[in-house]
């Protein structure tokens, strides 16, 4: 029996769209080509919150942290979690962001293989039957075997006609998602992929020099952005610098092997280690400290004419945004992806 489909009206814009009962409001809106505010699509950031004018919803994750006390008092819901029980009318705050450049769609992909990059980060390669359509910096929702709910992973490769999707994924000791990926999948295994999502993608309408700052597995979308900024037919080539923050020497990435010699020579990656106090200078002669501090030092804070892309754990993104604000970098030039 096919699931019910409900019509949802967006009060502020007078537009309505169809949403299956087993689909979230956010994904239905994006698939309909509507500009709906969002960031993480995982219930954590709060960007997709809305107010209900009419109708009822089911929340996939009722305790999702993206709603604060004020939101709950006002009965707001998260569009990335809400599934409609009936026709509905909702209100999203005043402005509407631009329509998605590529509408997300579901497909099935097969695991082709994986390759070790550091002690706990791997490069996974999947292949599907259709072209891999996404913007550098975006992410996909993967449905993993034996895991409820989907997980968001950012693409590390470039959009391509061969249907190849690559992800740099950090193995977390207690993560159910990564356990399923690392133990539950063998080459040839198929899983469901819904993509693309994300608003921290490489902007191609300007040729400003690009500064990319990655922490941990934030490296995945940043690698895609770096590759595109260096040379991609859909974007102007421009100066790129890459800063990558890890904890210790075991987090060091062989960029020449990952990006290729030529690309590495162009972006001259700077790796910064934050927890290397016991490591002698001879073993690690490179920069130490927090990656955002090294960015500020190396650039002297002169980031005003750059387009800045940041991805990594929330604390690292916060510290980096603080540094950018201190240096009066305009909000429109900063694109960030917090890995909740």
């Amino acid at each position: 029996m096919s699931p019910l489909v409900h019509r949802i009206a967006l009060e502020s814009s007078g537009v309505s769209f169809r949403c299956r009962a087993d689909e979230t409001v956010l994904r239905a809106a994006l698939r309909a080509g509507l500009g709906f505010p969002y960031e993480c699509n995982s219930g954590s950031c709060g960007a997709c919150r809305f107010e209900v004018r009419e109708g009822g919803f089911v929340m996939a994750w009722p305790e999702a942290p993206g709603l604060n006390e004020r939101d709950r008092q006002r009965g707001r819901l998260l569009a990335c979690q809400a599934q409609p029980r009936s026709a509905a009318a909702i209100s999203v705050r005043g402005f509407a962001p631009a329509a998605p450049l590529i509408r997300p769609r579901r497909q099935r992909v097969r695991l082709v293989g994986r390759r070790l990059l550091t002690h706990d980060m791997w490069l996974f390669t999947f292949a599907g039957n259709d072209p891999a359509a996404f913007l550098p910096g975006q992410f996909a929702m993967l449905e993993l075997p034996a895991v409820a709910g989907e997980r968001a992973y950012s693409m590390a490769n470039l959009p391509n006609g061969e249907g190849i999707w690559q992800f740099i994924i950090k193995r977390k000791p207690e993560g159910k998602g990564t356990a399923a990926l690392f133990e539950g999948l063998i080459p040839g295994a198929a899983l469901a992929l819904d993509a693309p999502f994300g608003r921290a993608y490489l902007r191609t309408d300007s040729a400003h020099p690009v500064v990319c700052i990655a922490g941990g597995s934030g490296l995945s979308p940043i690698v895609s952005i770096v590759r595109a900024a260096i040379g991609w037919r859909s974007a102007p080539a421009r100066p790129v610098s890459l800063f990558y923050g890890g904890r210790g020497p075991a987090d060091v990435v062989d960029f020449a092997s990952l990006l290729g010699e030529a690309a590495t020579a162009v972006c001259r990656p700077v790796t910064v280690l934050s927890d290397a106090d016991d490591v002698p200078q001879s073993t690690w002669p490179g920069p130490r400290g927090m990656v955002h501090e090294v960015v500020e030092r190396e650039t002297g804070g002169a980031l005003g004419d750059r387009e800045v892309y940041v991805a990594g754990p929330p604390a690292m993104v916060q510290a980096t945004l603080d540094m950018l604000r201190r240096n009066n970098v305009e909000a429109e030039r900063v694109h960030y992806d917090s890995f909740y």
Partner: protein, 244 residues
């Protein structure tokens, strides 16, 4: 934290916008050269000014929803009290900066201390001037010319500064002070050429640092000076100019 204005202080007013441009319950973003964007709020006829950029992400608070004296950030729903700057709803946890203002002839104006801004840095209570006393006239409180500053730098550098590098202070459109800390004896001149490190700043900022009215690390963090080159050499300058 707000600027503290005390009796007897000489102040200057920086106009932001007309009071009539901001209706009750509304906000307006104001851009003033050399400052972060500011947001002017009208709460039932009372005006408040805070930094426009949210302390959490990069959103413009003036585009948010004002309910009473609380502004809700448009991006993630965090909120601030516009009177106090206090963060009152997650995910915002860092208070936003507030500014003292006054309405002068229908203009909403920032109220600031006149003269070079003195940002706070660590000084003992005994050293901090009390507001009732007149400002001390020490060497350098009058603006110095490039020649005077060069002579002053020459005195501090001496014959052997310990810099072991060349340092260029570049004053946009006004020339340079070049310290050759490699030659024996060391020398100081105004000839522009390559250097180990280059520090770009205004003459006024440089004088404030030499007069110990401005902490150079603070100046670097707030963009008042730009550094190209090895920061460790810049740190040796603290000793040369007696700033430690």
């Amino acid at each position: 934290m707000a600027t503290v204005i005390e009796p007897g202080m000489s102040i200057e007013l920086v106009p932001l916008c007309r009071a009539t441009d901001v209706a009750p319950g509304r906000a307006r973003k104001c851009m003033i050269a050399g400052r972060p964007p500011l947001a002017v709020f009208n709460v039932g006829g009372e005006f408040f000014v805070i930094d426009d950029t949210c302390t959490h992400g990069m959103a413009s608070l003036s585009e948010g929803t004002l309910e009473g004296d609380v502004i809700e950030c448009p991006w993630h729903g965090g909120a601030f009290n516009v009177r106090t700057g206090q963060a009152v709803a997650a995910p915002c946890t860092v208070d936003v900066r507030t500014y003292a203002i006054t309405i002068e002839r229908d203009q909403v104006c920032l109220v600031e201390k006149a003269g070079p801004q003195r940002p706070p840095f660590n000084r003992s209570a005994a050293e901090a001037p009390s507001p009732a006393e007149p400002q001390p006239t020490a060497e350098g409180s009058e603006p110095m010319t490039l020649d005077d500053l060069t002579a002053r730098v020459r005195r501090s550098v001496g014959e052997e500064s310990g810099l072991n590098a060349t340092v260029k202070f570049a004053f946009p459109d006004e020339g340079v002070i070049y310290i050759d800390g490699l030659s024996k004896p060391n020398s100081v001149d105004n000839i522009d050429r390559d250097s180990t490190i280059t520090i770009t700043l205004t003459r006024e900022t440089f004088q404030s640092i030499l007069d110990k009215r401005l902490n150079p690390k603070f100046a670097l963090m707030t963009g008042k000076l730009r550094l190209r080159g090895d920061i460790r050499i810049a740190m040796r300058l603290d000793r040369v100019f007696g700033l430690e």
